[in-house]
Point group: C2
Chain length 317, copies 2
């Protein structure tokens, strides 16, 4: 009958809300039935003040894990109902020290008795089950305080995207793609230099034949990115000419290419991979960092490219 039973994890949020709404409504009825003019939403603030007064609004919001605005609104109501009182902190003019009022303290024993009854009712119900909801909630809360749900989902999506990207090797018929993918970013951020023109027009000769390698990233059968590994000497290779189609950026194409190129270098017995880039290319630099590259100092006057103003290196163990 109940969709949520079938849906499980997905509807966790809606389900928690439904349950909490019900408990809150029942709570309201409990106070009414016992002729106590009290609302469930006042409970956290009122209880806190009954145990640890005096407290300020912000202090309570931290203790309760809700916004200060929520506390402020409850405090306003409780002041209106004369259940609490507040005086300005003499040592801090911004802060208001709140405590139970006289009538609040008078209410306390009666309402504490009721709270105890409620605790017993919930306790009896919970302890008749195998799994304890309080423990489960605490665990979920702890997990969420480590990583929020959106962070967790972002990671899973990244992994999924990474799996979807296929790496394919160089072949003559992909030479044109290698050129156009690289022209796109070079023209967007810089200017095509003589060296670009030379290498991109004949990658087979200038990269592959020289002991290097060119890899392509494929998504749904379409070439969406590329990256080259250029041989410098027996121990050193350069990661260069990484390009990802703008429409597919953020889908882990670059990461997959980077990992594949590093793996290729490792297979060829490289001890290090270096690269040159430009400070403007912030997403690219972040990716290099994530791949394990660390910045190194070099004389960029010697570089083949004018745009080079950053060098990075990855030691392979």
């Amino acid at each position: 009958m109940d969709l949520f039973n079938h849906l499980g994890e997905l509807a966790l949020g809606s389900r928690l809300k439904r349950l909490s709404d019900q408990i809150m409504r029942d709570g309201s009825r409990i106070y009414q039935a016992n002729d106590i003019k009290f609302e469930p939403k006042w409970f956290p603030v009122f209880y806190l003040l009954s145990e640890h007064a005096p407290l300020g609004v912000t202090e309570m919001s931290q203790d309760l894990g809700v916004s200060h605005a929520a506390v402020s609104q409850v405090v306003r109501e409780l002041l209106q109902k004369k259940l609490i009182t507040g005086v300005m902190d003499p040592s801090d003019g911004r802060k208001r020290l709140l405590s139970l009022s006289e009538s609040g303290s008078e209410l306390l024993p009666k309402i504490k008795e009721l709270w105890n009854d409620i605790a017993v009712a919930i306790h009896e119900m919970i302890n008749s089950h195998q799994s304890n909801i309080i423990d489960s909630i605490r665990e979920v809360e702890n997990s969420f305080s480590e990583h929020s749900l959106d962070e967790r989902v972002a990671l899973i999506i990244q992994e999924r995207c990474l799996d979807q990207v296929k790496i394919v090797p160089y072949s003559e018929d992909l030479a044109e793609q290698f050129k156009s993918l690289n022209y796109a970013w070079i023209q967007k951020y810089f200017q095509v230099e003589e060296m670009d023109e030379l290498v991109l027009s004949n990658p087979g000769n200038h990269i592959v034949a020289e002991g290097g390698q060119i890899l392509f990233a494929q998504l749904d059968g379409k070439i969406v990115g590329t990256c080259a590994l250029i041989k410098l000497d027996d121990d050193s290779f350069e990661l260069a000419k990484m390009a990802v189609d703008e429409k597919y950026q953020g889908r882990q194409v670059g990461k997959k290419l980077g990992l594949a190129v590093i793996e290729a270098a490792r297979k060829r017995g490289a001890k290090q991979v270096i690269l040159e880039s430009n400070k403007k290319l912030i997403p690219a630099l972040n990716l290099y960092k994530k791949l394990g590259f660390v910045p190194i100092c070099t004389d960029h006057q010697k570089s083949m490219y004018q745009r080079a103003n950053v060098s990075m290196q990855l030691e392979l163990t």
Copy 2:
């Protein structure tokens, strides 16, 4: 740090709300980050329609366990965003049959992929714990569907009240209390009859000396109720003159007195207890029923009291 950890059961409602709010907010961010124009609150309705269309508003509200108004509002938004369409049911002019629209169906595969990622994220988190929150919630939901929290609390309060009521036996100095407690209700609902005057003015002679018994209920040291057991013959006793101070009604005083009187009858070897009452005294009749009395037919012309128009009997085994 967190008050709720210390409070346990009592703050269950606030705590569930806090958690659900967080999940909903994260959910909103997830859709945004993936460039899907969708809100978490749409999920239950949209999902339901993707699986079981066409459906009406009320049908969905039942499946989801929320009010039809909530569904109606979500439906209005989804219609506005053109994600669903609705046509009037040809066989029922009140009902609107809702289904995914074309653009809704187009969105479906993309959003389903995301739902799957979310489910995986939550699943991974949950399954790294000992106790499963989904199971806990289901159990709590089931418990609440049997008895709501306010019902459970009401029962506990009843028991607590029952424990607080002390039963004390008759003594001459309580005779005046026996009279005034009974006068109160008789004068409120009926008129004091000759027989009342006789019995209430000298209960020692007319009840106790005749083989009966009078019990009093004490709350915080104060006499707040009374009830008599009148001997009819060796096998039969009558429960009579039950009276509870109006200020203490609803605090299980009558129940405690009734139970005590029945117990006293049992001890004296009674095979049955009967009573006479009046249809107007609805709370009293409910109590008698709860104590196990069942209505019997008798000729009330023969009764000692004009107000008697109901008779009840309890068989003691």
